[in-house]
Subunit: 530 residues, 2 copies
């Protein structure tokens, strides 16, 4: 059996290595491969040999643009980064108390959070295998702390399950697993699967199901200390005279199915959401700030680009200076353009019609995030929930608990909504005040005693109304990938695009960085050939 | 349907509340109950009205003893705490560089860790629902940070699976779930389970299995981007021209069964190991130190108790002072004894024969922990593992990765073994040097390129050889619980026992604290009656 490209399969390769070098070599090869599979990042780009005086204009001071500027500048290129906003970081952004934000439509919010508290409107968590981002966080001195993604103690709420009452993830997941284990063990017992696997394997699987699903000796999932070990107790064990635990009653299969708990169980198993995840200490925006410190001399803020024209000798970018209103021009040998596609699509350029079609082909997702500052950490104090998310079928989709300052006696910011797709449309259309009210109304289902009572102030960002992106991130599908992706990322004469939209790790900072590295590596090769 | 004690069932109660107060009342009752079920802790004990001058001797300055001393002293009792060692904390203990530890048999280790690095020989993680411990950590100013228990990226190793090669938890768990989902969907398709649930529920379950197990449209678990989303990719997505991800090949069911991955999957679902877990910043011993600060004036160190005799008016404790060798006596109205049972069993006393039988009836577990200081964090840098455990069928049982100082360029201490039961016997019998060598040999299976190369120094604690406990913690079983538990915890005239051994939360600090609260609450009632 050979793999598609005609080369040896992984198994064949490993067998060959094993025959040559014995188990140690085989083992080391496996380990090396397992490592390689974590990421496409192989270290900072090698851009040695840059021609003296060669110059690059980078458009956009998000992470992709700043990384391009940083690495190209380090390699000897003359770099200028033009940024529309008065800050660097792009979607890597935290809103703090005192910040002001005006969305499309004109609504302006003055954020009222206490010092140190923040909302991350864009990215908010970092997978452990996003090696590029982690590399530069370390290189640029960004302190990271664990982001609790998976929390067994948080709630799951479906309006049409359990009479609308949220239940702990742990109980629903345990009961799903218990029921699945019992039913499959039953099917194995009934010889219903004897053609699907060997009898020996089915026997071993059945024993495994007993352990995994906390089945009793007769392969049944029943009320008892054993099932309560997973789903939680009616009264957990304690000390002294009344120390004995009291088991809880499993939910009926019918009710567990109502909860659709597999949605969350599957979600937590997504490679990008697997433990361990991280967040910067002090807000995601710390990453953008750290990148900005590295490229500070290269940055020009308040530059509204209106035209990108390349000719045989270079690229000319026309832009308006926000402060003076003056029209200005920048010129360089090459251009790395990281402007989000929806914005870029409105900028005059002389790229090929195929490239322009690719730029126009990719819609951006809409997403809404709402931060709610609460007087005290009632989710910890009253419900023993430390970080993680409680999910709901309502528009807010989830609420997420803060991953810093656990146990502290001071106000904290909950993420009160993270809505995407259809769930975000009505929220996007609302005023900031209406969004807060909706978040309070819907989020109260999880913490009815405290949610409104402890609320202090809120802030929201609807990405479709963000002036400098016109959306959250690029939404490729199989069709558009086939028709336009390679055209979009191909370097066209002196211009190359970069950003999460030019990657297969869309909507993640890692995608922006990997795209940037690939783009500048190709730009450098082109420059050497020129 | 009624519950065993003749009272209304939970469901009946909720229905009744629902009829009386409508859904809001019902919902609030549910929430309140969900909260109650997290813990038996209801706040610090209420010991008001203590008789002036009433006195208590507390034996042992572990957490149970110090909490008893703290609360009784606060309530007005005159308290003295006698402790055998020259430090407080008991099994709450961290070994730092410069510390010296001598085990039974005489082997002495001088710990050589770098400043700030440590091994927690005893407790090392705190469940989020251990509310008593969390309450006092907050009250006494112990800073906590997340302890990563569940890590999808860590390895699972069985000597007889995959030719002895460890595999990522994520891949094995994804393949187990995928196979279970496919087999159960098949059984449902074949109408093999039509008597087990309604057709509608089976249909819904089958759709759920597709989501949960990443099955394709035909309910098969196959190689592709979909299954790779859970199990990891051969090459994950990247940026630019070569950004497309390459899916990985699922393991064969037979191989997945070899790995016994359900053991770890089930382990992580245990209530006590569910996220979010915590650890004190700087080592578990910070808790013992914080408790000790609260009761410093009450502590007498180096007191080796030889006799505990009560009479109608009080309790006399005879002990030797370690510094002078002098025989001394302490006398008080009451005694809270937290001495581990194996040690207490060797101390002369005039407790009832039933009580003495209970003390003698409970064996202590043996456990071995080994700390290995490594020059660099190769598990993070080379394998993208941040916290969590890699499991093995070898004696060391697991290695565990540190949960602080992530990404730092300095030496760090791995837990190189946490062996219990039969796995611990051979390790216990070894010299400290042999234990380190064994830990390096066995742990190398996970990180063969670096494990020995980066090793600097190690330390080990075999609990059966710890002079002041003679074991790790009390191992009750169903039979001994029935025969002896209530006898053990009952206050006998003026003496009451406390500690993890006098609880149903054995081997956890929470059990020690809940036991202590229960014991002193009963002691106080007795004192008021006296």
């Amino acid at each position: 059996m050979r793999s598609g490209d005609g080369g040896p399969t992984r198994r064949q390769l490993l067998t060959a290595i094993g025959m040559m070098g014995g188990t140690v070599a085989l083992y080391q090869a496996m380990t090396a491969m397992a490592h390689a599979a974590e990421t496409q990042f192989t270290g900072p780009p090698n851009l040695s040999g840059a021609r003296p005086g060669a110059s690059v204009i980078v458009l956009g001071a998000g992470l992709a643009g700043m990384l391009a500027g940083y690495e190209l500048n380090k390699a000897g290129y003359k770099v200028q980064i033009l940024e529309y906003q008065q800050r660097a970081g792009g979607r890597n952004w935290s809103l703090y108390g005192g910040d002001t934000y005006t969305e499309l439509g004109g609504a302006t919010q003055k954020v009222g959070f206490q010092p140190g508290n923040y909302l991350n409107p864009g990215p908010w968590r970092i997978p452990h295998h996003h090696a590029t981002l982690l590399h530069y966080c370390k290189a640029f001195g960004v302190a990271l702390e664990p982001f609790i993604q998976f929390n067994h103690a948080a709630y799951v709420h479906q309006t049409d399950a359990f009479g609308g009452r949220p239940q702990r993830f742990r109980a629903l997941a345990a009961d799903f697993e218990g029921n699945v284990a019992e039913l499959l063990a039953k099917a194995i017992n009934q010889k219903a699967l004897d053609t699907a696997a060997t009898t020996e394997d089915l026997d071993r699987l059945r024993e495994g199901l007993r352990d995994w699903g906390m089945l009793d000796k007769d392969f049944r999932y029943v009320k008892g200390l054993r099932s309560s070990e997973h789903r939680g107790f009616e009264r957990p064990g304690g000390g002294g005279v009344n120390g004995a635990p009291i088991p809880s009653e499993p939910f009926a299969l019918h009710d567990v199915l109502d909860s659709r708990i597999w949605t969350q169980m599957s979600f937590f198993m997504n490679h990008e959401f697997q433990t361990t995840m991280f967040q910067p200490v002090g807000g995601m925006g710390m990453i953008g700030k750290a990148f900005a410190r590295q490229v500070a001399p290269l940055l020009t803020f308040g530059a509204k680009v209106s035209k990108i024209l390349q000719d045989k000798k270079g690229v000319t970018v026309s832009y308006a200076d926000a402060a003076s209103g003056e029209a200005r021009e920048a010129r360089a040998d090459f251009c790395v353009c990281t402007i989000p596609l929806g914005v870029l699509n409105q900028i005059e350029n002389n790229l090929s019609s195929e490239k322009q079609a690719a730029i126009a082909a990719v819609p951006y997702s809409s997403a809404v995030k709402i931060g709610l500052e609460m007087r005290r950490r009632f989710w910890e104090e009253d419900a023993a929930i430390y970080g993680g998310h409680s999910f709901t079928s309502q528009e807010i989709s989830l609420i997420s608990y803060p991953n810093s300052d656990y146990f502290k006696n001071k106000p904290a910011v909950l993420l009160g909504a993270f809505a995407g797709g259809p769930n975000s449309y009505r929220l996007t259309g609302m005023t900031p005040e209406e969004r807060i009210e909706t978040a309070l109304a819907q989020g109260s289902v999880f913490h009815p005693d405290s949610y409104r009572k402890e609320f202090m102030t809120g802030a929201s960002v609807a990405w479709s109304r963000v002036p400098w992106t016109l959306g959250c991130c690029a939404m490729w599908n199989e069709e558009t990938r086939k028709a336009h992706y390679q055209t979009l990322v191909a370097m066209e004469d002196r211009v190359v695009l970069a950003g999460e939209h030019a990657s297969y790790v869309g909507c993640w900072m890692e995608g922006a960085l990997l795209s940037s590295i690939d783009a500048i590596t190709r730009l450098h090769q082109r420059a050497l050939e020129a």
